[in-house]
Symmetry: C2
Subunit: 343 residues, 2 copies
Amino acid sequence: MTHQKIRNMEEFAAASGLSRPTVSKYFNDPGSVRPSTRERIEAAIEKYDYRPNIFAINQNRKLTKNIGIVVPHLADPFFAEIARKIEQRCIEAGFWPMLFSAYGEKKHENDILDSLRSLRPAGVLLAPLGRASDRAEIEKFCRDVPTVLFDSNIDGLGEAFVGSDNFSFVSQTVEYLTRSGEPPSFFEMRTPANPNANKRRLAYIQMMERLGFEPHVIKVDGEGWEFEEIGKRGALKVLKAGGLPTNAILCSNDRLAIGFLSACYDLEIRVGRGEDCALRVASNDDHPFSKFTCPPLTTAAHDYDSVANCSVETLFELIENGGSFQRRTETLFPARLVLRSSA
Amino acid sequence: MTHQKIRNMEEFAAASGLSRPTVSKYFNDPGSVRPSTRERIEAAIEKYDYRPNIFAINQNRKLTKNIGIVVPHLADPFFAEIARKIEQRCIEAGFWPMLFSAYGEKKHENDILDSLRSLRPAGVLLAPLGRASDRAEIEKFCRDVPTVLFDSNIDGLGEAFVGSDNFSFVSQTVEYLTRSGEPPSFFEMRTPANPNANKRRLAYIQMMERLGFEPHVIKVDGEGWEFEEIGKRGALKVLKAGGLPTNAILCSNDRLAIGFLSACYDLEIRVGRGEDCALRVASNDDHPFSKFTCPPLTTAAHDYDSVANCSVETLFELIENGGSFQRRTETLFPARLVLRSSA
DNA sequence: ATAGAAACTTTACGCGCGGAAAAAATAAGT
DNA sequence: ACTTATTTTTTCCGCGCGTAAAGTTTCTAT
C-alpha cells in the first residue's frame, strides 16, 4: 500500500492513465469531462490523495477562488457570528474565504486591504470600520477588487451594500417602549465609530417627533471599541448625577447596554418592567450575550442569516458579472423585536 | 506622473536600473544588498508601488511565510482576543498569519487542516477543539507541518504545547474562596469539550482534599459550545431543586459562570460577598465580558500576553530549527486572581 | 596602486499549473 | 457502417519568481 508520492499534476495524470490537460480541465470543472473519466480521476484522487498546488493555480488563473472577508473587530461576537455564516456559504460555493479583522484600527484596515490586493481575490466582503476608515484607500481598493460592503455603509463605495435597516430597529424599540410605558431617552457614544450609530440617533429623533414626544439624547464620552466599558462609565456618571430625563432608555447598541446594565447593578437600580423597577432598558443588535445580561435585554435583532446570505449572494453575482454592477444597490433588512425582561 | 504599470520583477528591476536577481535578493532579505542599491530599490517601490507576486513566491520558495492560526471557536471572545495578539506578533515578524476557526465542529477542524496543508505554511499554531478533535488527523497533520499546540493540550501531539496552568487557576480560586468564606462546590459541564475542564476538576478535588474539605462537583447536561446557555439552564435546574451543598460556587469557566449568574438573577438570588448575599460565585478565564456581569465576576485570569507571545516564540524557534524539536516541551503560565464583587 | 573581497550582471533552468491549437480517439445518431 | 459531434491527447507557450553558476564591476584595505 505504498504508492510513490505524486509530485504534480503531470505525475497524477500519468497515474490515472490520462493526459494532464484533461485532468486540469477536471479540476477546473468536474462536470466538463466524460463521466467515465471523471470516475477514474476521482478514484485516483482517493488513492493518491493528490490535490493541485494552490499557488500554481492562483498564479495562472486570471481569477482566484479566494474571497476576502474583512470585519472591523473580531473580538466582537456579533462580527464573529456573521463572519462564520459568511465563511460557511463561501466554502459551500467552492471558494476559499480568508478572514481578516482590523481590530478597530485604521492602519490595520489599510494593511489588510494591501495584503488582500496581493491575494488577487475574486471578490471581497468588507465591513469597514466606519468613521475611522480611510475613505481614499477603500475607494482605491474597490477600483481594483470587486467589493461588496456589509454592515456598515460608506456612501458610494463598493459595488453594493448589504446591511440592516437602522430605522426599522429604532422605530420598533421606540414604538414598543412608548406603547408599553413611557418614551425612551437615547443613550449613545458622543463620537460613534460606526455610521449605523448616527442613523440610529436620527431614527430615534424622527420617531419621537412623529409620536409627539421630545427626544432626549444622552451622549457619553469615550473612544475606541471597548463599548461595554464606555457604556458602563458613562452610565455611572449619568446615573450618579441623577436626573435621567425618562424612565426608559434605548441604547444605541447592545454592547453599550451591557455596560449600562452593569452600572445599574452596581448602583442597585432595578431594571425591568416590574413594579419595583426604576428603569427600563432596551437596545439594538441582539448581541449573542444579550440573552444573559441581568436582566436579559430587550433588543432589536439583526437578521444575521439574511444579511450574511444576501452579502454573499450579491458578491457571487458581482463576480459572475465581471466585477461591476451598472448601479450600486443597497439592501437593508428589517429588525425583529426580541422582548426580554429588561423592558 | 503616469508611470507605465510594472507587471513583474523583471520590469521592476529594469525600472530601478538593476538586475532581477539583485532585486529578488533584496525582497528575500533587504539587508543582503548594498545600502545604496537598497535605497534605489526602495525608492522604486515607492515610485511604482510594486510588490512581488505572492503566489509565484510561495510556489518557488521551499518554505512560505504563511503561518496558520487555528482556534476552536472565534465567536468566543477569549479566542478572538488571543488570536489577535498572535496575529500581531506574526505580522511584526514578517509572516502572513491566516486565521481559521473550527466553530466547534470536528469536520470543520479537519477541513481546515486539509486547506492548511495545501498552503504549505512555515508553521501552525493550533488550539484544538479538544475532546471533539480527530486525534489521528491532527497527528497526521503534525507530521507534515511544524505545529505548536496552544490553549488545549493533546498528549504527545505537536512539537510543543503552550497554555495556562489549570492547577494554578483552580488552586488560587479555591484557596481564596475558602479563606474568605466557605469552600466552594465546582460547577461544570458533564462532558466538557475541552481538556482544560478535566484538569480543572481534578485540581479542584485535589485542592479540596489538601485543605481537608469534601469536594462537591455539580455536573450539568449539555453539548456544544453554547456554554452560557448550558450554564444558565443547568444552574436554573440546580438552584430550583434547592440544595446547593455550599454557599460558594466555582465555575469551571467564565462562560458557564455568565449563565450561572444570569440564572441567579432570574431567581432573585443575590450573589456577592455582602451580608445580604446568598451565594458567592467565582470562575476561571477572565473572559473579556466577566467585568460586566452582574455582579462582576471574581475569576482567575489567563496571562493572555504570555501565552500568545510564548506560543509565537516557540513556533519561530521551531521553524528556525527546521520543523522539529528533540523534545516536546510543555509551557504553562500561572493565573492571576482577579477579585471582583461576585465572590 | 593593487590585490582581494563583496556585490552585481548575465544566462539559464526549474517550479506546477492554465490554457490554446491541432490532431487523434471515442461516442452518438442515422 | 458511416458521418458528425464530443472528448481526449499532443505539443506548446506563458505565468512570475527562486536560485545556481560564471563572469564583471565596485568597493575596501593595505
